[in-house]
Amino acid sequence: MADPDGQVIVGLEVHCQLDTKSKLFCGCSTDYRSDGPNTHVCPICLGLPGAMPALNKRAIEYAMKVAKALNCEILNESEFSRKNYFYPDLDKAYQITQYDKPLAEGGYLEIESDEGGERKIRLTRIHVEEDPGRLVHMGNVERGKYSLVDYNRAGIPLIEIVSEPDMRSPKEARKFLNKLRATLEYLNVFDSEKEGSIRVDANISIKGSERVEVKNITSYKGVEKALTFEVTRQKNLIRRGQKIERETRHYLEARGVTQAGRSKEQEHDYRYFPEPDLRPLRVRSWLDGIVLPELPDARRERFMAEYGCSLNHARTLTGELKLANFFEKVVASDKRGLSPLAATWIADTLKGELNYRDMSLDLVEPAAMTGLVLLLKAETITDKSGVEVLRVMLDQRLKNEPAETPDAIVKRLNLAKTPGDTGAITKAIDEAITENPKALDDYRAGRSGALNFLVGQVMKKTRGKADPAELNRLLTGELKKREA
């Protein structure tokens, strides 16, 4: 019998829209999101009889850039095939994709494993294909009356990146996807902020059981959620002694559950055959001409070496292109001096505050952040006040109000530490240690509770006005002095 606590095995198929100007096989603009339905279509992407596809060179260049960055091998010859299936999102009743001769094979992407450290996730292949149209289902989820079809998306270039079943948890799947997104952004071939620019199908099994394909995951967070749901569902089935069926399930984002779909067509039902209207590609020699920019791993290492960032901060900061660029702008005037504080305040505090507001980093001025970091560095304000200033800054930008400088906010809200604050804390620390010799002995003996006890005593003496971070720093310093 299968073991309900058996190893979770996950493989992903990730579809990413390539950020070209025109579609894969015609000159229709890919910039369709703010326009009405069926306004970016022509006889080619509408599949009208006699229309002939013409392959977009840039799409192939972009796909090859990705293949090179992901360490794939470009096949000597690749070609397009027709995948036949009947569904309203496909106007031609076939999708032009790649089948037995994809653009690239092999390769890998390194992610941070659940145990920490880097782990290679192997890739099976990367191929190029056209996006189908978009369907809007009218009526409720289970029983709608009809669908509305918009072919603006039909023919947008996609790459499908297929991984080997190398991930061991839903969390690793999310990390893979985040790392992939970062890599594509660094390559400047993909815009992750466009709605629906990435879609994921996931294969998941518990070792010893059949695998289940989960389709229709359309968000980064959705991957981990959908897979976590599947792990629980599959483990429960095994525990009850039931068998896991090999099937395709659909992820319902709004409800966070997966649901059995219609039985999928078998592969031979797709009746793949070579696309007769397109000639094969022989582009391997282009690889030499592709110059890759600095990629996330290299940038992470550089952030550690150049700015002295911790591994975790470097990982977070370089995990998003915009965040990494933002950080470098903030500390540009004084790399070594500002980096330690800026790394914490951007990777931890700012990122958290932005997430909380569902706010884009684009709205934050690097110069304003530099101003805040300078105030913190000069110890003009406490960390607590720093958070307050940051919140005011963000809320002003979010509400489109006139933006005050951090200095102005500090002045207006009277947040500057009064001189003597540090003195008062130092005095309280001195008293607390003198009054509690046992705590000092405990600290020397390495009992961790002693520090917390003394922090509590000082807090009492200063009636909570001491900034906890500062207090910790001063207290630890004082204890070290006395330890010596």
Partner: protein, 89 residues
């Protein structure tokens, strides 16, 4: 050789309803067409067709699309600029 089962299967995949008598008729017609290909197979030729044509590509340039009005002209039913289709799931 195409069988009646093949015909029924293809009809199912394409979501085309066919009547009781039709699988037999279509099977007959399909096979008649395929027989012509047998004739073509017997034509003597040089064998492999070689066409030294690779990397036929166009530049990434935008060309005008059709107007929404034109796009929807052939659609049997529309709603708010969308093409209306039966729901398939």
């Amino acid at each position: 050789m195409v069988t009646e089962n093949d015909v029924q299967h293809i009809a199912d995949l394409a979501d085309v309803g066919i009547g009781d008598a039709e699988p037999g008729m279509f099977t007959h017609q399909f096979n008649a067409i395929l027989e012509y290909f047998d004739i073509l197979d017997r034509v003597e030729g040089s064998g492999e067709v070689t066409r030294d044509l690779y990397n036929i590509l166009r530049e990434d340039e935008i060309e005008p699309s059709l107007s929404q009005e034109e796009v929807l002209k052939n659609a049997p039913a529309t709603e708010d600029g969308f093409i209306k289709a039966p729901r398939v799931m």
